[in-house]
């Protein structure tokens, strides 16, 4: 579906969370590096358009549990939102901070998944192990440990925490480790 955009990596749909008339509307894509994107097909059959947000496992699980809406989950992404759309017959791609996306391109902000048939997927995500192959320095290990063992309230802001320590790579690792 998104092969044209090499920066996304080779993506495949990991799980369709909501479909309509057999068209995936909300779904999770995963690339070969294990990075997950929350994807919304906001155009259906009218005008093709998709929003993709690179997301952590933690955020995805909150969305699956209906603790946050799908759009709130996208807004939590530490990365620019990928906006793919068809304009004048050509598929185009933009990368924008969530707050810069035109309101008209967004779906209802409060819509939650409310899908009762995804407990197996939640379980699968929860059971995934953190990569053991990552080699990091002592300081990095310390920060990672702090982030992974912090209470939920402080974890939410771990991106800023990493940024404050000028540890951008750590932020990337945590995103990677969380899948």
């Amino acid at each position: 579906m998104f092969e044209k955009f090499k920066f996304l990596g080779k993506m495949s749909i990991e799980r369709v969370l909501f479909s309509f008339e057999n068209e995936p509307i909300v779904f999770i894509c995963k690339n070969k590096s294990g990075i997950r994107y929350i994807c919304i097909n906001t155009g259906y059959g009218y005008e093709p358009s998709w929003l993709l947000a690179r997301s952590s496992k933690r955020t995805i699980i909150k969305m699956l549990r209906d603790e946050i809406s799908v759009l709130e989950a996208m807004a939590e992404s530490l990365y620019d939102i990928v906006f793919i759309h068809e304009t004048e017959g050509e598929i185009r791609c933009e990368r924008l901070p969530f707050t810069s996306i035109d309101e008209k391109e967004l779906p209802d902000a409060n819509e939650k998944l409310q899908n009762g048939n995804i407990s197996d997927y939640i379980q699968q995500l929860e059971n995934e192990e953190i990569s053991k192959d990552y080699v990091c320095s002592r300081k990095e290990k310390m920060i990672i440990n702090e982030v992974f063992t912090a209470p939920e309230s402080s974890i939410i802001d771990y991106d800023n925490y990493c940024k404050s320590k000028k540890m951008g790579q750590i932020k990337s690792f945590i995103e990677y480790a969380e899948g």
């Binding site: 919304i40 008209k104 967004l106 779906p107």
Partner: protein, 149 residues
């Protein structure tokens, strides 16, 4: 001679007529009216929508469901679909609506999609093949559905 379904090729009409349907669906169903209007066109099958450009979707032309009108046994998916559309589509379709009404046996054939396709992702999706000429009768039996009714 097979029944006729709007714009459906003859060979597919035969296939639809001969589909084994164990539990024909009748009773109340729900559908999204993209235009917010209830008229004959509201019940165009997906293939018709592909022909007239109402949808840009490219569906499998060998699958009988492509020639059906999609309806649901519950309204939830219809509301959710509308809410996940980008707001810009409201410029073209300002008032998409969830509508509801009854399927009668004489309108055509109707089948729970999972009866034909076991792993179909929407357990309450119904394929409804409406006989040509029945569309206006069908439209008269449908009305707007308000959430919580």
């Amino acid at each position: 001679m097979s029944n006729s379904y709007k714009n459906v090729p003859d060979e597919m009409c035969v296939m639809i007529d001969n589909l084994p349907i164990e539990q024909p669906i009748t009773g109340i169903v729900y559908r999204v009216s993209k235009s917010g209007i209830i008229d004959e066109g509201t019940f165009d099958n997906t293939y018709c929508e592909m022909l007239n450009g109402t949808t840009g979707l490219k569906k499998d032309l060998s699958e009988p469901g492509t020639y059906s009108t999609s309806v649901y046994l519950t309204p939830d998916s219809c509301f959710k679909f509308i809410n996940f559309l980008a707001k810009k589509h409201r410029d073209k379709y300002p008032s998409p609506a969830v509508i509801f009404g009854e399927i009668c046996y004489s309108d055509g054939r109707a089948q729970l999609t999972t009866e034909r396709i076991q792993n179909y992702p929407e357990p309450v999706h119904v394929d409804w093949w409406i006989y040509t000429g029945k569309e206006s009768e069908v439209a008269k039996r449908f009305n707007y559905y308000v959430a919580g009714e």
